[in-house]
Structures are given as structure tokens and as C-alpha cells.
Symmetry: C2
Subunit: 220 residues, 2 copies
Amino acid sequence: MTPARTPTGAAPTRGRRPGRSTGDDREVAILATAERLLRERPFGDISIDDLARGAGISRPTFYFYFPSKDAVLLTLLDRVTEEANAAAGDALVRLAEDPRARWRELIARFHATFGGHRDVVLACAQVRGTNAEVRRLWAEVLERWVRAVEAAIEGERARGAAPDGLPARDLAIALNSMNERVWYATFAGDGPAVAERDVVDVLLDVWLTAIYRTTTPPSL
Amino acid sequence: MTPARTPTGAAPTRGRRPGRSTGDDREVAILATAERLLRERPFGDISIDDLARGAGISRPTFYFYFPSKDAVLLTLLDRVTEEANAAAGDALVRLAEDPRARWRELIARFHATFGGHRDVVLACAQVRGTNAEVRRLWAEVLERWVRAVEAAIEGERARGAAPDGLPARDLAIALNSMNERVWYATFAGDGPAVAERDVVDVLLDVWLTAIYRTTTPPSL
DNA sequence: GACACCAGTCAACACCCTGTCGAGTGGAAT
DNA sequence: ATTCCACTCGACAGGGTGTTGACTGGTGTC
């Protein structure tokens, strides 16, 4: 696996061969094709041949750029999670100035990012069951967010704004998990789901009550 | 699809042919094989041939009993959800006598049922992404639980034990979604997860604070 | 007892998808 | 002019799914 053809570039990102120049266009074309096809049908119904033809290359050539279909999705997921991390940014600093507004900002930004790439997010959720690599990456990303939320909760408890209760980490896991599943249902549109218009406020309310026991936590 | 070979029995359950007598053993054998294999490897790594050989029949013969591999899992899921429904039972009646204990009972019973069939539950979660039938069944089941919780929340608000706030349905969706995802992580063991020992109490706390704004809601 | 019927069974086939191998090809570097 | 290598693809091997059509043996019927 991952023959690492060229020791040219820096770190070989995500099993993708670190091509030089000509190949870059093709790699981009494959990713663009994947995003386009994902808009019209589920990931499982897209074959490597579809991806290759869409990028104007043959199937064997596809393997020069990506080791598998899943690796393409992984690259797409990488982008989304990076964007989400950037969007989340500093929403949790100076939480004390206006806790409700800050938490809402955090949730709304994630919502906007995921909503903007719902096809990729949905495809990843589907593949997570069968692909260990996607599972691992998602677990990493989630762990990062859980830690950030855990620290924020502990900060709020330390300043007396939030009461003690569950271990902050467990609470952070539960709340992040809720968001993930609720967003999934909202974007997928199958099964019981919160309307997209309301979802941020619904999630926010549960977060605030779980953390503060009130929907109007105190500022400084 | 679903040729409906024999118009013998009543409603043909879940695409499974309504066999008469000899075939019943084989059908049971297939289901048992599926459960056994699921204990040792993921659903995607189990082929129809594995299922057939495990039940002592050939692959074509498998198709006499089930229209696909997924249909086997669907039958297994049916059992689990029926068991869960039975276990949940009357936990939400007379909620007012001891709300905390009742809610805990509900969550604990679901936890016990799912934990007792974690392989099936995990497999379904994985397949849900690719199989519309599983998705539909799960959506149905979830809808039922959401409605029950929604009604319970409204009951608690009516008697003045729980404050108004989010639409009860949205809250019920969010809480049920949280449980699903948190259990999944706990049983799967990948990514950030709550320890199995603690998971019921963690979920309970979030439910109580979201519904009542306190972890010690008032009795009658 | 011969016959028809049918649930149940499977070898063989057609098909699709994945991943690999080996033989190219063309442009840049020596 | 030659070498080298990123890049390309035809052809193959392998494995999974779903279907077809022929066969078998038990049961009920006349």
C-alpha cells in the first residue's frame, strides 16, 4: 500500500501521491468530480471508473493519484474539517463576556460549515461504518472539539457561572455527539429531524441547560 | 424483486419468503449464522456465501430465504427494536411519581437492550448509510420514541414540573439523537466515548437539565 | 401404485467492480 | 543522443452479487 513513488515533496498528504505539476490538475479534477457526483448520488453508487472518466483519465490512472475511492473522500473531509476548525476559531475565548452569544456563535459556525458541504459530510457519515481511516480521522477531529468544549466548561465552572455536575469531558462528548447526529438527520432529511432553520437554537438550548441549568447564563 | 413464491402464509414479513416448515430451520440457521459472524467481524466483511455456508446451504439457496444480505440484518434489527419497545414499555406512565427514577429507567432499559445486541446495532448503524430499507425502519422506530418522549415532556409541562421552552418535539428529537450517537460511540469504542459504566447517568443528566432545568425534578 | 405438484436445492452463468501488472510515451535533464 | 521518470492505459485476475434452469424428494390425489 501507498508505494510513495516520489520522495519529492514534503509530507505525502493522506496517501495521495505527491505529484509534481502535470498531475496536480488531474488530482484536482478527481476531487471536483467527486464533489459533483456526490451532489447527485450517494457515495456507494459512484465507482472509481466514474471518478476517473469524470476527470478525463482511465481507471488505472486513477490509482496513480489516489489509492482508493475512500482516499478521495478522506481528502475532501480533510478540507471540511480544516474549514470547520478555522470557523470555530476563537468563539470560545472570552466566553464570559456573553456566554449565550459565544456558544451560539460556535454552534452556528459549525452549522454553516457543515451545511455548506453537506454532501461530503453525509458521504463521510455513511462511509465511516465501513472505512477505518475515515473513522480514525473523524475520531481525531471530534476529540479536538471535545477537548475544547471540556476546557470551556471547566472554565465556566471555575468562574462560578456553571454548576458542578457531570465530568466535563463526558458532558462535552454527549453534547458534541448530539450535534453530530442532529445535523446528520437535518441534512439527510430522513427520519425525525429538526428543521434546518431551527436547528442551531435547539442545539444551543440543550447545551446551555446542560452546562448552566439555564438558557440565560450570567456574563462577567 | 421479492417474487413472492408462495401465497401461503399471512403477510410476508420483510421480504423474507413465508416458508412452510423445512425451510424454517434454514432461515433460523441463517439468522443465527449472521449473529455469530457479526460477533467476529463487521457486516461488510461477511459475504452471502459465508452466511449460506454457515447455515449449511449453497449461495443460490440463500436467495430462497432472503432477497439480500441486508434483509437478514433487517430481520435481526426488527427483533431488537421489538425487544426495545417491550423493554421501554410503561416507563413513561406515572412519570410524575418520581420523574428522575422513571426517566432513568427508560434510558437504562434501552441501554440494556442495545448493549445486549450491540453487534446487530453497530452493523445497522453502518449499513444505514447505504441501505434505504434500514434507514426507513430506523426512522420509523425513532419516530415512535420521539413521539412518546414528546408527549411525556408536554405532560410534565402541563403539570408545572417542567418549564416551557423549545418545542417538545424538537427537544425530543435532539435528546433521542444524542442517545443514539453516544451509545454508538460507547459500543463501538472508537473515538471519544463515555465509559459504558457511566453512560446511562450522563445521558440522564442531560435529559433532566434539558427538560426540567434541574437534575432533581419535583414529584407530585 | 402411478402421477402431478411444488418447496427446496444448487451448478453454472453473466455481470460489475476493484486492484495490479507490464508495456508504453513524451518531455526535461545530462 | 541518451537517459530518466512522471504519467498513462490495455488487459488480466479475483471476488462478490444476483439469476437461470434443471433436478430431487416428499406429499396428496385418483
